[in-house]
């Protein structure tokens, strides 16, 4: 191993309990340290990049022979323990060898339309791409992160378990009615006109007004200020109620006040409920 040039205090790794105080300065890594050190790299590209950067090699002028020899040593050592990783280093070694051999071969005259690329160019591109992504990973890691550097506000909300009631719209009612009529079409027709609805609404109102079996004077059921159509509809509602035997309309004598009363309680009483 060459003399240490960096004075590092923390051991970078331990091999057989012995601290390694710095990364190996040579391309050559002692076999003892290899496993530990290779573990620290993400793969052959990472190691190659490290070696190039560490030795301040020109990325365009990699000493291929030396690197290749070194890689073969790694492959040999790795194949016992990490076969898959060994394969990846082997691929890299093969690539390095190929580059080296192509550089040694005499170059044939290049055809004009297919200029031969420097065999190292592709490797260099890959190394630069990888290095850029390592840089990107570093940048991403230093980006503030929720949970690590940023805490989100979270104010408590006591949710009252509200019973949610189904919502019904008038359109729901309309379509329910339409499907009813569609179903009953063959037997009967239900024609609900606006006019009839208003009569029915008044029937309900009158029955409510006559609650508790009290007598109400006929004219009290009318609201004279509401206009003629309203009066007519109220009158129709009273007639309809009388026809359905829901109310009783009585008059003692001609021109005496007319009284209206609900029919029920007189004959039957509420005990039937």
């Amino acid at each position: 191993m060459t003399a240490a040039t960096l004075a590092e205090v923390q051991p970078v790794a331990r091999v057989y309990g012995e601290p390694i105080l710095q990364m190996p300065q040579d391309l050559y890594i002692p076999p003892d340290a290899l496993e530990v050190i290779l573990d620290a790299f993400e793969g052959p590209l990472d190691l190659l990049l490290y070696l190039i950067r560490k030795h301040n090699l020109d990325i365009l002028d990699i000493p291929m022979a030396e690197l290749t020899r070194q890689y073969m040593v790694y492959v040999d050592l790795l194949r016992h323990t990490q076969l898959e990783l060994a394969a990846e280093y082997l691929v890299m070694a093969a690539m390095l060898t190929e580059i080296k051999s192509r550089m040694l071969l005499p170059r044939p005259p290049k055809p004009q339309d297919n200029p031969e690329e420097d065999p190292r160019a592709q490797l260099v591109r890959r190394l630069l791409e990888y290095e850029q992504m390592k840089y990107a990973a570093h940048k991403l890691e230093s980006q503030p992160q929720v949970g690590r550097d940023i805490t989100l506000v979270q104010v408590y909300l006591e949710r009252v378990a509200e019973v949610r009631m189904p919502q019904v719209s008038v359109l729901d009612l309309q379509s329910a009615w339409e499907s009813l009529v569609a179903r009953a079409k063959n037997t009967r027709h239900h024609r609900i006109t606006r006019h009839e609805l208003s009569v029915r609404e008044h029937m309900t109102q009158i029955l409510r007004a006559l609650a508790h079996g009290r007598f109400v004077e006929f004219i009290e059921l009318f609201n004279p200020s509401a206009g003629v159509p309203e009066l007519v509809v109220t009158f129709l509602a009273i007639l309809e109620l009388a026809k359905e035997r829901l109310i009783e309309v009585t008059q003692q004598e001609v021109y005496a006040p007319i009284y209206v009363k609900r029919l029920e309680s007189e004959d039957h009483g509420r005990e039937s409920e």
Partner: protein, 219 residues
């Protein structure tokens, strides 16, 4: 654990110090998932702050938040910020759960009562062509949308159902007349080509319609 010197607390005057303490307490309480006890709140600071002083600052924060949608409250395990209940309905709109739906039987029964009131259960059964379970009427009564307004004077004195004022309110109607007219439907039924869906505006209806309808109903 290494403790870093707090620049924020290394301040010149007491007042400044206090306002920073307040900000730190407020921030911690806003981000905390659970109530923070005085003991926990004390741990926020390098220099010890006694509980009386902490309580004083917390009371100040409480006052600061009086006019907001969120309030600082003290619960069994400590202090926490919580949204005022009045704001829940707004927040609920963010994650609307599918509201429950009434069954077709309930909707049809409601439609019959709305359009044909007052009606007995028998009337409803006649129109629907099937038995009406008491649960359906109970559901609608429970909702406050229908009630019994009397009994029909026929054997058995069946109860007469009608819709309530609350039904109109809940459906945003002023009167039953604002229910969709079904005239349009009848026209369609008669295979006369017409355009759009019925609209809610009042349309004059021929008086004779009702008479006809009545006459047309088989006795």
């Amino acid at each position: 654990m290494p403790r870093f010197t707090s620049n924020a607390l290394r301040v010149k005057t007491m007042d400044e110090n206090l306002s920073e303490v307040k900000l730190i307490l407020e921030t911690a309480l806003l981000v905390s998932h659970e109530p923070l006890s005085l003991h926990q709140l004390g741990k926020l600071f390098e220099t010890e702050i006694d509980h009386d002083n902490l309580r004083k600052v917390l009371d100040e924060i409480k006052v600061d938040w009086l006019a907001r949608g969120v309030e600082l409250v003290q619960v069994a395990t400590g202090w926490r910020f919580q949204a005022r209940p009045e704001y829940q309905r707004y927040i609920d709109r963010l994650s609307p759960e599918k509201p429950p739906k009434y069954s077709r039987a309930v909707l049809e029964t409601l439609a019959i009562i709305s359009y044909r009131q007052p009606v007995t259960r028998g009337d409803i059964e006649d129109i629907r062509g099937v038995t009406v379970s008491p649960n359906i009427l109970k559901t609608l009564e429970g909702r406050g949308w229908i009630d019994v307004i009397g009994n029909r004077e026929v054997p058995g004195r069946p109860a007469l159902y009608a819709t309530t004022k609350q039904f109109l309110d809940d459906l945003n109607l002023r009167s039953l007349q604002e229910l969709p007219s079904l005239d349009q439907f009848i026209v369609n039924e008669q295979m006369l080509i017409t355009e759009a869906m019925p609209e809610f505006e009042a349309r004059p209806t021929p008086q004779s319609d009702m008479t006809e309808a009545d006459a047309g109903t088989p006795a």
